[in-house]
Amino acid sequence: MPKCTINGKEIEVPQGTTVIEAFKMLGDDICHYCWHPGLSVAGVCRLCMVHIEGMPKLQIACNTEVRDGMVVTNQTDDVKDTVKWGLDFHLINHPLDCPICDQAGECGLQDQYMKFGKYDPEMAEPKVKKHKVVDLGPTVVLDSERCILCSRCVRFTEEVTETNELGIFNRGDRAEIGTVQGRPLDNNYSLNTVDICPVGALTSKDFRFRQRVWYLKDSESICPGCSTGCNVKVYFNEEGLWRVKPRYNAEVNGHWMCDEGRNTYKYVNAAHRLKKVKAGQSGDWSQEEVFPETMKLGEKFRAAAEKNPESIAVLVTGQYTNEEFKNFFEFVADELKVKNIFHWINNPEKFDDFDGLLLRGDKNPNTYGLKEEMKSRGGFKSLEDLQGKMSQFEWVLVLGPENQSQFPDLKEKVDLLSQAKSVIWLSACETPELDALRAPTHQIPMKTYIEKEGSFTNFKGLVQEFKRGTTVIEDALTLQEVVALLRGHELDYRNRPQPIGGTKKNHFTNVRGQL
């Protein structure tokens, strides 16, 4: 393993490590735009310049492999001057429209300018005009004038998705990224191009103009969209969630996540959520207070189970945490001796699909954990057994999916359950399908992944813990809380988690009008 010295600090690195990677390992500052750890080396922004002892010219750190004994620094006047000018070359034709740019606040140009700016704009010539507000497809908008031609997005569609939608056309300072003849950038990973765009050239249609990033807080979490369990960052303020971005995990998702997974923030927001217990059937529902109603329900449920465990059926989706499952099955299977436990999966035909990158057909974050939990309890009964037998159950308890849109047979299940005597359906969201249930039903409002802590076990058995980010619906319950209430335990609801706001109150969104 070669040893080198970077800015006076010694470091030993694996063979093949580049100088820029060594800088990252040390946590030393090094300016760069085109280099990205998940893509090939382009070496075009020319900003990661370093001085290497014994070499007459400055070298780019991204294309230089660490050799034993190398002495590297980016603290010389020459390097600093080169970076300063290098940044200026990036800026001379840039529109500098930060006040109306969505990247402002998380822009590579702004960040570096604060550190290395020339602070003396000498460019007095007319700037190069390029295409603006280019509709690149269903998810992404391009502003070519902001683009610094780092080629990250092009390399992404070439190397990661291998879809090749993007290219850099023309040459010199007339070069522009784009698609051919307006064909859309339309793949399920397109929004990664927005993440890796170091400037405001590529922006997300979903996110642009909605929030200033400095008003948002973020929290590390796990995407609940499928069994891959991509590591993500969720961005929110007191109004709710605004976007999801991938977080690096070499073992799971690398640097990326799919566009489908990014949508998982939407159903979390208040507009889609169940806020109270809904009791009733077939479109005739009353809103009940969550705690007393669930406790009341618990008495009846327990009584029925104690009388005859066979009169209870439980339908489970792999959408809850390991901790929730453990707690739930200890109650239902071990204490109440319920045997009729069924596994509801989203789509049997596509359940084992895999797109070759990240997205799996199993749209549950914790199928693995659920199965593990049930192993010692004899596994699940076959769903087929339910057909035609529904009316023999007094109670059917459904651990419904958080993201119901991923369950194409939701209506089918609603029809099936409509034959039961009474139903308890745990659900984070409100949907017309559920409201059509014809059996006497209690819909209980549940917390979503961002509102609770715990762990999911992904498709290959990797247990991934996550923390609570914020609370959107205060009264919504975790599965542990449901279990406690069903058991008849009082909950201290004065100390329940409160919503977490942004760093500052965003007055702009509070006075936002409707178009």
Binding site: R46, K57, N63, R171, G172, D173, A175
Partner: protein, 428 residues
């Protein structure tokens, strides 16, 4: 003909028959190939090394040393002939390809045999339609005569050669830009390392040599390294084809020994300046070479070392002679327009810098510049140098710096004229 000229490569350029295989053979064509195929490949490399031959395309890197960088194994390797002659002022390769296509092909087969390559390409710039047609015909003749293909002249050596036409991009004259272009991509230079000799065309070991370099190999093998060394200087051995244009009486391609004085080249070989004109400046190595003032020009010799010492370079041997009828601001404007137009756009300092200095120069020419702008050209250009993947950025920066430094008074005159005019406008 001036007595200073030598006719080594160009001996038969004046004979139309030299273009065809038959005529070429009449003058000893392919006899050196016969000799070379009987030699040990390493012996050929040693001979080329000993000859002191340096790349004639612009960089002047020793050819034999370059060949020596190839890995010593059986991995397939490619020989590429750089016929993307694009440096403004340069046309000597076109002359050779039109008049002596077989001379290039013979030189290439010998070189390929030396470096154990079984496939070569001549990458010719797209605009050279006529030379391409002539070369294509020559290649067909060579295949027909068993000089290319399997078992060349019964030697057991196989070699295929093809011609690839570029499509209009100066940057493809940079060897890795050329490789990218041949690979069917935009002609953008590649990061080095790895160098082409290790990973070039399709990531295989690749040697890229200029047309004139490869043709010279033939004469080195024919006459031996010592004979070749009789021409030129210790460090700049051999003869060189110079492309001479601009304000001389007899512009054209001339073969002279390296080390000839620029004064002799202009006033003896090229017949001097037009009557009544005075020498103002010379660009000695293609438009990217730093310009020399008249005074500097009259002192310098045309070899790699002398020119480097004078702060310029031999480059491709394109000498642009500038008399006192020219406006230096205008010429820099033309020159920078070219580099701005030709920057491939990969590296930011070049992509943005070439446009920037071109625009400033243009503003000054239009009378809109300030004294600060003159300094700015120099300052921007200095920050473009040595910061990019290839040398195009430097190629734009060097003329910019040398023009504004050496002819600053002309730039100032434009600025002052502009200030005056604006003053008058303001009062009108």
């Amino acid at each position: 003909m001036s007595s200073l000229e030598v006719k080594l490569l160009s001996e038969h350029y004046d004979k139309p028959e030299f273009q065809g295989l038959e005529g070429y053979k009449k003058h000893g064509g392919y006899e050196v190939l016969v000799k070379a195929l009987k030699m040990e490949p390493q012996k050929i490399i040693d001979e080329v090394k000993a000859s002191g031959l340096r790349g004639r395309g612009g960089a002047g890197f020793p050819t034999g040393v370059k060949w020596g960088f190839l890995p010593n194994n059986d991995e397939p390797r490619y020989l590429l002939c750089n016929a993307d002659e694009g440096e403004p002022g340069t046309f000597k390769d076109r002359v050779m390809m039109e008049r002596a296509p077989h001379q290039l092909i013979e030189g290439m087969i010998i070189s390929a045999f030396a470096v154990k390559s079984h496939k070569s390409y001549i990458y010719i710039r797209g605009e050279y339609d006529e030379p391409a047609r002539i070369l294509r015909k020559a290649l067909d003749e060579a295949y027909e005569a068993g000089l290319l293909g399997k078992n060349i002249l019964g030697s057991g050596f196989d070699h295929d050669m093809d011609l690839y036409r570029g499509a209009g991009a100066y940057i493809c004259g940079e060897e890795t830009g050329m490789i990218s272009s041949l690979e069917g991509l935009k002609g953008q230079p590649k990061l080095k390392p790895p160098f082409p000799a290790i990973q070039g065309y399709l990531k295989k070991p690749t040697i890229v040599n200029n047309v004139e370099t490869l043709a010279a190999v033939k004469y080195i093998i024919r006459d031996g390294a010592d004979a070749y060394r009789k021409y030129g200087t210790e460090k700049s051995a051999g003869t060189k084809l110079f492309s001479i244009s601009g304000n001389v009486v007899k512009p054209g391609t001339y073969e002279v020994p390296l080390g000839i004085s620029l004064k002799d080249l202009i006033f003896d070989v090229c017949g001097g300046l037009k009557p009544g004109r005075k020498l103002k400046a010379v660009i000695p190595g293609g438009s990217s070479a730093p310009i020399l003032t008249a005074e500097e020009s009259l002192k310098v010799n045309m070899d790699y070392e002398s020119l480097a010492q004078s702060g310029s370079m031999l480059g491709s041997g394109a000498v642009i002679v500038i008399d006192d009828s020219n406006d230096m601001v205008d010429l820099l404007d033309v020159t920078l327009h070219f580099y701005h137009h030709e920057s491939c756009g990969q590296c930011t300092p070049c992509r943005e810098g070439t446009g920037w200095i071109s625009k400033i120069t243009h503003s000054i020419k239009n009378g809109e510049g300030t004294t600060k702008d003159i300094d700015l050209i120099k300052n921007v250009a200095e920050h473009m140098m040595g910061k990019t993947i290839c040398a195009l950025s430097d190629a734009a920066a060097m003329p910019a710096i040398s023009f504004v430094t050496k002819f600053r008074d002309e730039f100032e005159a434009y600025v002052n004229k502009g200030v005056e005019r604006r003053g008058e406008d303001a009062h009108a």
